[in-house]
């Protein structure tokens, strides 16, 4: 049960948020030009890292905004929070 610092609302309990999985997976601009394997890479493959992971979170019971979180999955420590479209404040 961690605390997330929503970039729009401030610190809130984890129960107000929902996780959206790995961040910075860009939806291909021209999906029709992709092979099955390339499309499958986008569609199915996720890293699920033990350690520093870049994730998407949604303040679903708050402002309903999506944003990015840098979280260490081994101890839930959150190292950074930043808005969609912004560059990660920590090197990926």
């Amino acid at each position: 049960m961690f605390i997330i610092n929503c970039p729009y609302c401030g610190e809130r309990d984890q129960t107000e948020f929902s996780s959206g999985g790995e961040a910075h997976i860009v939806r291909p601009k021209q999906p029709t030009e992709l092979s099955d394997d390339e499309w499958a890479e986008f569609l199915f493959m996720r890293k699920n890292i033990k350690g520093i992971q870049f994730e998407r979170w949604n303040h679903s019971h708050g402002c309903r905004k999506w944003f990015n979180v840098v979280r260490d999955t081994s101890n839930d420590k959150i190292h950074a929070v930043y808005k969609m479209g912004e560059k990660p404040p920590i090197n990926k």
Binding site: S18, R27, Q30, L34, R64, W66, M84
Partner: protein, 1003 residues
């Protein structure tokens, strides 16, 4: 009543308030301040239960939450009885009734005791080895195991008690109100930190509060005197909240902790009325100070489990705190100095001490000298090799230890004793620390696992004996220093305390004490609650188990309700010793929350019954209730299911409603459908991307059905969307999918297509929807809204009009989910019930029939319309549903488009939607039933299953939708639906059963 085991003039026990209670039916007395355990001991009752496997008599062993034996059932009221309560924790109240749990027919004569005689046949893994074969015997085994399992009985009726939840935020949380906790709380609160101090006992002070030994002094006074003064002081500090009878159950990340406050469990039933029983505290603390103390370890020797054998520290607490002598001729057995404190307490109260058996060569500490002055016989370098006494210990047999401690030598000495205090040293209570993610380190001097300062999650510290300080001097010095650093405090009122102490830290550790008998002939118990012995652990190791987690599960050591609080260290020690491993490398098993068991009541709090989840009701809900509707839950919504008349069954009601809707007119409350208002200059482009079909060319005032996919190409949701203006749409979603669809659309807008100018607003609750369908629907609507031109030219199917009913604006759509000519009125919810009644009034002469969700499902099935979530399950593409017509092949892209021609989604043997007709038109298939081609095949190949099935009153036969492998190619083919007692013959058909030409839409 005489209580000759009771000492007078005890300040913790109120001897003026006598309380009566019952144990196993026998009426007994105790005093206010007693626990059930102390009251039983005052009545000379040690035997309280039987052991789990061998049914050996077991007695009260401890005075706290680590108690493995004295576990009782409180009360026998079917709704209030409480199982698995530790007698050492439950406070005595007038009328308390307790029962031993693990004995049948009673605690003194126990039939399961036969297991004790059979014990050579009950080794480690016994249950795994024996009860696994033959499998057909399992039912008999289960009966046997359940009857002798020894866990309490659950209440059989609903719990009438009230439970509460409380959210709490503080600067500093101090867990444990012993001497170090009191110091920490005072320092914190005095330095302007909002502080919460919790303790699971009813009084503060831990073990120091009854410590009045001359060898231990603070500022020249007994330690208890000093502490009492401090406790009095802290009660007046403003920003300090103190909660007693509150046990910390769980310590999660980010300093989120759960604690259970017992509010009425110590009160008599009369005093409990209308009060909250327990409160679960959900605490978020900026900093946490753990001061949970330590518990004494037993010693592991032959027959160490007889009633009357107790932890030495428990004997001391019973005499000093509760004023109860646990025996008349007490012996003490130790590997460290602790029992000498007990000896002095006993001596002060005039209890006869037979002897002290110490496995060490000697100890020259002040306290030992003090004991020696009293002429108590100390057997140095001796061990107990056996004990006697069935229901209560009567004799101990002792022998001299060999030099290396692995055997015994010399002559056996037999000593008469009725109570034996044992001490194997102390184990820091690190459960909460490890729950929070902290890692332990091993200190080999005294064999303890301690919080590793370098592997402690931030914003917490452990102080006192849970941090490995067992001497009062170390505790005070280090607690003061550590708390100051942790909270950034410069000066403390504890800086110049003068502390005197005596203890010799030396300890001789032998995990499994030797006997004169071979180990196979002995019973050295390790886990008293689960009845596993040191032998079992050794056997597990011989059989090849190496990991501590595996040994634990195989022998069940440490798997009882006490989570092995007393047994874990010895199990580890014996494994390390036997395998020649270093204990520190072996590591411990995982401690999981809760630290002590929690009631379900405390966990759920007030979220029971109607408060379990939100209930959403439509604006017309009361009308449905008044008209005797049966309701079904759809997500959180209560939806009218059907409206039975004159004792109709559900089947009869649905048949009547379905017929009426097609023959004249039906009316449905469709308000629960999700409604999303979409606005913005890119609204059309947005719809193009989220739906499979094309939207740019939809004219203003027109409606269109849309199918929404997941990126994997599978159908996700569907509904009709209406273009209200150039840049304005209203989308409807399924009832259950409304919230998820909005979230998904927001996700794409915010993260993938932020360049689109689109705004989404949920208006599900703001508008209510009344659907009127059937050949007479037009007549009804023309009465309700006379000004509206309802001609097919002006108001064709799939179009919309703004209108006004009684000065209230509304939107009317001509759309149909039944295949009938029908309209939907969308109106601001406050007016919806009124409009519904207007419609009912207008339809009086046309037999207007309200219908519920069941009839709606039947009518749409007649038309072969799918329900997402019923006919789809997240594995169906539009093509699988035979809905290829809805895919905008010319569109550049939409969510899921690329997935529609992945190698897997274009397989032609995918499961596809078909219609099914039973050969016997009166036979109705069961939804979920499997469809097969051959009956005598093994294994039978299952080709698909029925997704929707009804008896259609309009076709006078049963109809069904199903998904079948290669279903598109199977039209006209015959299959079987095998049921328990028969095989039903079916034929695959088209999915549309009724009005295939869609003539009725414009009828």
């Amino acid at each position: 009543m005489t209580q000759e085991l009771r000492i007078n003039n005890n300040k913790f026990i109120d001897q003026t308030t006598r309380l009566s209670f019952k144990f196993n039916g026998e009426k007994l007395y105790g005093y206010k301040g007693d626990t059930l355990a102390s009251a039983l001991l005052a009545n000379n009752i040690h035997l309280v239960g039987r052991s789990f496997k061998y049914h050996r008599p077991r007695g009260i062993m401890t005075c706290g939450s680590e108690e493995p034996n004295a576990i009782v059932q409180i009360g026998n009221d079917p709704s209030l009885t409480d199982p698995n309560v530790r007698a050492t924790e439950i406070e005595l109240y007038e009328g308390l009734e307790a029962f031993s749990q693990n004995c049948w027919p009673n605690v003194k004569f126990d039939i399961g005791g036969i297991n004790n005689l059979l014990s050579p046949l009950l080794p480690a893994g016994f249950y795994y080895k024996t009860f696994m074969w033959p499998a057909s015997f399992w039912e008999k085994y289960e009966f046997f195991i359940r009857h002798s399992a020894g866990l309490g009985k659950s209440p059989t009726k609903p719990d009438p008690d009230i439970y509460d939840h409380k959210h709490y935020h503080c600067d500093v949380l101090v867990v444990g109100g012993g001497i170090s906790g009191i110091m920490a709380a005072k320092l914190s609160a005095e330095n302007n930190k909002d502080t919460l101090l919790l303790d699971d006992k009813n009084t503060l002070g831990g073990t120091t509060i009854y410590q009045n030994n001359d060898c231990f002094k603070i500022d020249d006074n007994h330690t208890n005197y000093w502490l009492e003064k401090e406790i009095k002081n802290i009660k007046n500090i403003k920003n300090l909240t103190i909660k007693t009878r509150t046990s910390l159950a769980a310590y999660h990340g980010y300093n989120y902790l759960l604690a259970k406050e017992n509010i009425t469990d110590h009160l008599s039933p009369d005093e409990r009325k209308d009060k909250i029983r327990q409160r679960l505290w959900k605490i978020r603390a900026k900093k946490v100070i753990i001061a949970t103390g330590s518990i004494e370890r037993p010693l592991i020797f032959n027959n160490n489990d007889r009633p009357g054998i107790m932890l030495s520290s428990a004997i001391k607490k019973f005499i000093d705190f509760y004023g109860v002598k646990t025996g008349r001729e007490i012996s003490l057995f130790t590997n460290n100095d602790s029992v000498y404190e007990t000896a002095i307490s006993l001596k002060k109260s005039g209890v006869n001490i037979i002897s002290i058996i110490d496995i060490r060569d000697k100890s020259s500490s002040k306290i030992v000298e003090e004991v020696e002055k009293h002429n108590i016989k100390i057997y140095w370098n001796h061990t107990i090799v056996n004990t006697e006494g069935y229901r209560r210990i009567s004799f101990i047999e002792i022998m001299k230890l060999s030099d290396d401690g692995s055997g015994v030598i010399g002559k056996k000495i037999k000593l008469k004793t009725d109570c034996l205090g044992i001490s194997g040293g102390w184990t820091p209570m690190v459960h909460l620390f490890t729950q929070s993610g902290g890692k332990l380190k091993f200190r080999s001097d005294d064999n303890v696992f301690l919080p590793d300062k370098n592997k402690t999650p931030s914003d917490q510290i452990s102080i006192g004996s849970c941090n490995g300080d067992f001497d009062i001097k170390d505790i005070i010095l280090n607690s003061n220093k550590d708390v100051k650093t942790f909270l950034g405090i410069e000066n403390s009122s504890f800086d110049n305390l003068k502390v005197e102490s005596s203890k010799e830290k030396m300890k001789r550790n032998i995990w499994l004490l030797p006997s004169d008998k071979p180990i196979g002939k002995t019973k050295p118990f390790l886990d008293f609650q689960n009845d596993s012995t040191a032998k079992d652990v050794k056997l597990a190791l011989r059989e090849g188990f190496k990991s501590i987690e595996h040994v634990k599960r195989y022998t069940t050591t440490g798997m009882g309700t006490d989570q092995g609080k007393l047994s874990n260290m010895h199990a580890l020690g014996i494994i390390a010793e036997t395998t020649g491993t270093n204990m520190g490398e072996l590591g411990t098993t995982t401690f999981r929350p809760p630290y002590t068991p929690l009631t379900f009541g405390a966990i759920v709090g007030r979220n029971v019954g109607e408060f379990f989840d939100h209930t959403r009701k439509t604006a017309m809900h009361n009308w449905h209730v008044q008209n005797k509707a049966k309701f079904e839950n759809v997500g959180q919504w209560k939806r009218a299911w059907y409206y039975p008349k004159n004792g109709e069954t559900m089947f009869e009601a649905v048949q009547r409603e379905s017929k009426a809707a097609r023959e004249s007119v039906g009316i449905l409350d469709a308000s629960t459908l999700g409604k999303i208002d979409i606005q913005g200059t890119d609204a059309s482009e947005f719809l193009n991307r989220v739906y499979t079909n094309a939207w740019s060319k939809l004219a203003i005032g027109k409606c269109r059905y849309g199918l929404m996919l997941n990126e994997d190409g599978m159908v996700y949701d569907d509904g009709v969307t209406t273009r209200l203006g150039e840049n304005h749409y209203i989308m409807t979603t399924t009832t259950g999918g409304a919230a998820n669809v909005l979230t998904k659309l927001e996700d794409y807008l915010q993260t993938e297509w932020p360049e689109l100018d689109v705004y989404l607003t949920t208006v599900t609750d703001h508008f209510s929807t009344i659907s009127i369908c059937g050949p007479n629907s037009k007549k009804i609507l023309s009465k309700v809204i006379p000004d509206l031109d309802l001609s097919d030219e002006k108001f064709p199917h799939m179009s919309f009009k703004n209108s006004i009913i009684n000065r209230i604006k509304c939107r009317v759509m001509r759309i149909s989910f039944t295949g009938e000519h029908s309209y939907e009125i969308n109106i601001q919810s406050n007016y919806a019930k009124n409009v519904w009644e207007l419609c009912m009034d207008a339809g009086k002469n046309y037999n207007i029939t309200p219908y519920g969700t069941e009839t709606m499902h039947l009518l749409r099935a007649e038309k072969g319309f799918i329900i997402t979530g019923q006919d789809t399950d997240g594995t169906m593409t539009p093509s699988d549903l035979q809905m290829d017509w809805i895919i905008g092949k010319k569109k550049f892209d939409f969510i899921g488009k690329r997935s529609l021609y992945r190698s897997d989604t274009i397989r032609d043997d995918r499961k596809q939607l078909v219609g099914l007709l039973t050969d016997d038109p009166n036979e109705i298939l069961e939804e979920g039933a499997q469809i097969v081609e051959k009956l005598n095949q093994k294994p039978v190949e299952m080709l698909g299953h029925v997704t929707s099935s009804y008896f259609s009153p309009n076709l006078n036969k049963s109809i069904a939708l199903a998904v079948m492998k290669s279903g598109k190619k199977l039209k006209g083919k015959k299959f079987f639906v095998p049921m328990e007692n028969k095989n039903i013959n079916v034929t695959v058909t088209d999915t549309v059963f009724f009005d295939k030409e869609n003539k009725r839409l414009n009828a």
